[in-house]
Structures are given as C-alpha cells and as structure tokens.
Symmetry: none
Subunit: 199 residues, 4 copies
DNA sequence: GATGAATGAGACTTCATTCAT
DNA sequence: GATGAATGAAGTCTCATTCAT
C-alpha cells in the first residue's frame, strides 16, 4: 500500500521500517507537523538522506507512518478481541471494550493519546492521497467492531456500528475543546445514554 | 476575546479586520498550516510587518481568524433561525436545517467547505490556547441548536442536542476519508436513521 | 553634555529623565545591546515614540544612559568620601575603599554588577562619540581617588592613581573570563600584593 | 574546542575555515555585533545557509571566530618568541616585546586593532559559554609571557606576570576613552614606570 | 508638543530536496 | 546502494525610524 521504492534487500527493508516507526512515533507525539525529515532520521538513528532515499518525499513518509500507526491499532484491537471470552456482558463492559477498540487503551494523558485518530481522519479531508489507505483501515475497524459486538452478544449490523462509531467520534472531537478535555469520559457517557435507550 | 493590541482608530480597526479576514479565508482554503505571515499580508494587500504590528504573533492571528470564522458561522446560524417560521416540520425539513446550522449551507465542494469545522475542533487538541475560545463558540452553537429544535416543534434538551451534534460530527469525520467524500450526505443519512428511531 | 533636543518644559525634562533612567537600568542589566527603543519606553512607562522625540537616535539615548550611570557612580563615590573620617588606615581598609570607589559596593552577583564599567570603557573604543563624556567621567574618578587616598593618609600623585586604576581594571577584565568569576576578589588580591611592595 | 558539526572532507573543512576566517575578520573590524550570518556568508563568498550548516547557531560561529583570532594571536606570539635570541635586554626592549605579545604588532590604527582583545575579555562577562575557551587562551598567553620574560633574562613568576598583564590591560582599557586614543603608548608608559620601580 | 501608526530592512533559523561521490 | 554536503526558499519575528495627525 505504501509507495515504497528502493531497497528490497533485508537490510533495506529493516531501515525503511525503522524510519516508518520513528515517523509514527513523532506523529503520535506531535501530530502531522512534527514529521520532518530531520526529526525522523534522528529518531531512527539513520542518516538524513535515508529519509528521501527510502521515501519519494515527505508525504510518502507521512502516509507510511499513518498506515503503520493505523495498522498497529487494528492489530491491537484484533488481539484484544481474540482474548475476549464470548458471552453476554452488561452495558458497562461493552462500553469499555468499544472504547478500547476505538480510542486505544486508557492512558493518563488520554486527551493527547487520542487526538491522532481524529487528526488522521480530518487531515485526510485535505490530503486525498491518504483516502484509499484510510478507507481500508476504516473498513477493517468496522469489521472489528462488528465482531466485537457479536462476541459480546449484542446484535449488530453495519448501521448500528456506524452509529456507534459516529457517537464516539462525535463525542470525542467535541470533547477536545474543553479546558480540561476528557474525551474518553465524554464518549463513555454518550455511549451509555445511547445504549440505555436501545442505541 | 481576541488578544490583539494596537489600532483603536477606525482605520486601524479596518486594517486589523482585513488581516483577520484574509487569515480566515486562508484557514478555510488551506487549513491551519496555510496561515502564514506572508500569505496573510499578501491576501490582505498589506505590508508583511503589519501582521506582527496588529498581532503579537502568529498564534494570535490564527486564533483571531478561527474566532472570526466561528462567529461568522454562528451569526449565519442565528440569522437563519430568525427567518424560520415556527411550527412543526417533517423530519426531512428538520434534518436540513440542522445540517445547515452545523455544516453551513450546502456547497458544491462540500467536503472542503466542511473540513475546517473539524480541523478547528481537532487542532484544539494540540493547542490549549484555543480552548477557551472554542468552548465559547461551542456553547453558543449548542444554544442555537436548542432554539432551532424548539422552533421546529421538537422537544430537545441538552442531552439530545449533544447526541445530535455527536452524530453529525462523527458521521462527517468518518466521511472525510471516502475516496469521494460526501460528509453532508453521510450526516443526513445518520440523522434520518436516528430520528426515525426516536433519536 | 548630552545631546538633548526638545522639551525645556519641566514636564518634558521629567520625561526625558525617566527615559534616561530606564535606559541606564537596562544598560546595567543587559549591556549596550539591551538598550532598545521599545525596551526603554516600556521600562519608563512612556510611549515608544517618546524615545525618538526626546533623543535624536538610539546612540544619543545610549550615551545619555551611560552618562547617567557614570555620574551616579561618581556621586556615590564622592558621598562615600564625605563620610570618610580622615586618618591613617591599614592596607585592608584602603583596599576596600578603593574597590568600592572603582567597582561599586560589593554585591552578591558581583561579576555581573561590575561588568558595565568595562563595557563602557571598551565600547568607547568603537564609539568615538562617547569619548568626551568618558574622558570627563574618568578625570572625575581620578580626582575622587586622589582625594580618597589623601584622606586615608596615603601619599598619592597622578601616576600612582593611574597605576592603581590600571591594576584594578586589568585584574577585573582578566577575572571576567574565569568559569566562576570573582573580579572583586582578583582586584583585591592584586592591590594587596602591589601595596605590599610599596605599590 | 569549537562545537561545529559536519564537514570532515578536506573541502568541507576548507569551507568551514573560510567562514571562521570571515567571521574573525568581521570581529576585528566591527566587534561582536558585526558577526551576522549574512555578513559572514558574504565575506566568505558562500551561501547564507552554509553558515548554519557548518555552525549550529550564531553563538557557535562567534565562538569559533573568537577562538580563531585568539589562537592566531598566540601563535604569532610563540613564533616571535622562537625568533628571540636569548640574553639580557634593557627595559625598552623588554617592554616592546611584551607589548607585542599582548597587543599584537604595532599598527597605525592601533586603537582599533587592539580593542578586540578587550571586547573579548569583557564580552565573556555576559556570555558564560565563552569562558572555558577564554580561560584556556588566557592560560596559554600567561605561559607565553613567562617564557618570554625568562628568555629576556628577567626573573618572573606567575604573580609577576599577572601584575604585568593587569598593568597593560588596565592601561589600555583606560586609554581607549581618550579623544585620540593611544593604548599602546599608555601601556608602554605604564610598563616603564612599573619596571623602573622594580615592577 | 507628542504620539499612534506604520513599515522596510534585516535578524536568526528550519526545511525539503538535490546531487556528487 | 547510500549518504554527506549543500542550498534556495521560506518561516517567524524585531527593530530603528519616519510621518501624519
């Protein structure tokens, strides 16, 4: 999916990967603007020129980083699902599971940890080249949630998942503007009240 | 609310305003990254140094632009409300009105026109200094929707408005990643299905 | 001596003085480079344009500040002399008095407090317009030391004062480069060893 | 000792050196304030960006220039010493040699040529990062004078050298404020009178 | 007399990208 | 294949000074 160019040697692939990981970490920490050639190279402990050697330009590297981060999140989600024993759960349990799938595991610095998911979504609005990637990731996330709800004994279809996702994402983006943002809390409250009314 | 400093004369106020408007236009067209001293000055047809004369630094100018844009949207919303004849409406009518309030009037290039609202929300996640402003705007928007729903004969409380907003915003951010994004359409479908089930 | 231009009114004179004092304080705190129109005006609580209204240009203001500071030091020196009871003193006493006259009263942050005297001397090397002023101040300082030594019962002539001054100033400028500078201490040691050998 | 970073190739080293020399020349001509990125680049006939490519920031470049100048002076001093035939000399001869070591060879525009030594010393008072460098240069100069005096058949220890240096430096900084400065002359007179009295 | 407004010049620095080796 | 070297373009911001009022 990523553009890629040279280096099909194992070593080349390893270095490419190191750059992607470095870029992904920067993405999480500082957003899209923080992904610069220099910063990535330093993080990865590789020469500056390697960033343009392995990636056509910065957009290419940013895209690869976004993809890496997105796939990592999904992998975590599927792994979490695999460990989930089947069976009915109360609302509280389901809500927490869904929040974990959508926002990642709860952190102390939640607001900051969560923001990248939304930066990615919104940034795609101005970067058409990210759309195919993001669409793919999104479809997979959808699938993951569908399975997760099923495992929890909650009947779910595409529409219901869409609504759940919208409720969470909508709550979060609106929570980010609070002076002391608590996006996870906001999403949790929203989900509860929605589920209480039968979604 | 905006920081600003000099220019109490009418002319000064006019120039300041010209800069804000130029910055706001750039914000709409290119997002936060597009608001640069040079670009703003050129847009406004004013000397480069005027940007730092009227605004302490770029953050200050960006904030003023965001505020300008946000207040403009709200003003439009209230004006629209004022022209709204009271009385019950069918779901279709209400949905269109709510979409207009939240996303602005329908445009051809809808995806692009709509994206700034979400950039603003998300950007605030990394720019704490925008939070007070955004919170204020958000509260006003909330009020506007409350009134709008009342005018449409739909019983609404804070919670219901929150849910509506979340549904729209969540739909939109998830629609932005489609290869051919139709955020307004996505939000419309979501609202319909939600209202059909009694919200 | 200072250039001066407008404002012979009492109020004008007062504001001019306020600017000079503000500039002098900045001079002490940050050296010549710290004396900027903006900084001076802010310190003095006066409008920016007043700095160019009362002083032809920045050099003029800097010169006035240097003069103010220099004359203040000298006034302090003469006052100190006036309070000095006549009579022979031991070397220690004389040394401390001379150090006070040349370097100002001992401070905790001595290195920083002392540096301006030498910046002024050296800066004059590149600013011929400061020379008449500095020469006058220097002559007065010379006179002060002559009187001081006499009061202490130490026979002194111009040559001896010159040598004393040179020893102190030479010690100080060479002490400023230490990692933990102690210019007063260095000057003290130098004076002691010189006086021990009969100057 | 200088910070620097890239350029290990001969060519790189040469360009780096060109920048340092350009900066050093500017330092001599106009003092610390004259060392600006633009000015250095133009002097060296190199692109502006090369100044930040070879030097982390301006402070780094200024320090390198100060070091270059200082080491050059010292090298000249040691070379001069090497050419010095051993043996007793009269006071006049010794004085001239010491002045050469401390102030550089006599020039027509003496006052200007000499001022940088003192700017460097005094500037260090406000720029702690220069202290280690200046201390090292100072120690070497001390050594040079010790050897020089020995070569001239004059018994000298650290204390005596310190006193000599202080006398010269003190004379010079006080001479810089004369309307027609003659720092070398002043130092010469001071040394004579001091040596006449057995130091 | 006094000052708010205004700006051209220039300061330092970062960065994406190219290219020779 | 890999990378150190290099740089043009642009970024943010400060400042001394002028001028109209």
């Amino acid at each position: 999916m990523s553009a890629g160019s040279p280096a099909s040697t194992p070593k080349g692939e390893r270095r490419r990967q190191a750059l992607v990981e470095a870029a992904a970490r920067l993405l999480v920490e500082g957003g899209f603007d923080a992904v610069r050639h220099r910063a990535v190279a330093e993080r990865a402990g590789l020469p500056l020129a390697s960033t343009t050697y392995y990636f056509r330009d910065l957009d290419d590297l940013v895209a690869a980083a976004a993809e890496h981060h997105g796939r990592g999140e999904l992998a975590r989600g599927w792994a979490q699902l695999a460990e989930l024993t089947a069976g009915r759960r109360d609302v509280d349990g389901v809500v927490e599971i869904v929040l974990d799938q959508l926002l990642g595991p709860a952190t102390e610095r939640d607001a900051e940890a969560v923001v990248l998911r939304y930066e990615r979504l919104v940034a795609t609005g101005r970067r058409p080249h990210l759309r195919p990637l993001m669409s793919e990731l999104s479809a997979d996330l959808h699938e993951l949630l569908l399975e997760t709800l099923a495992r929890c004994g909650i009947p779910a279809d595409h529409e219901r998942v869409n609504r759940l996702v919208a409720l969470v994402d909508g709550s979060v983006v609106n929570a980010l503007i609070e002076v002391h943002p608590d996006p996870r809390g906001a999403a949790r409250r929203m989900l509860h009240s929605a589920l209480a009314e039968g979604l």
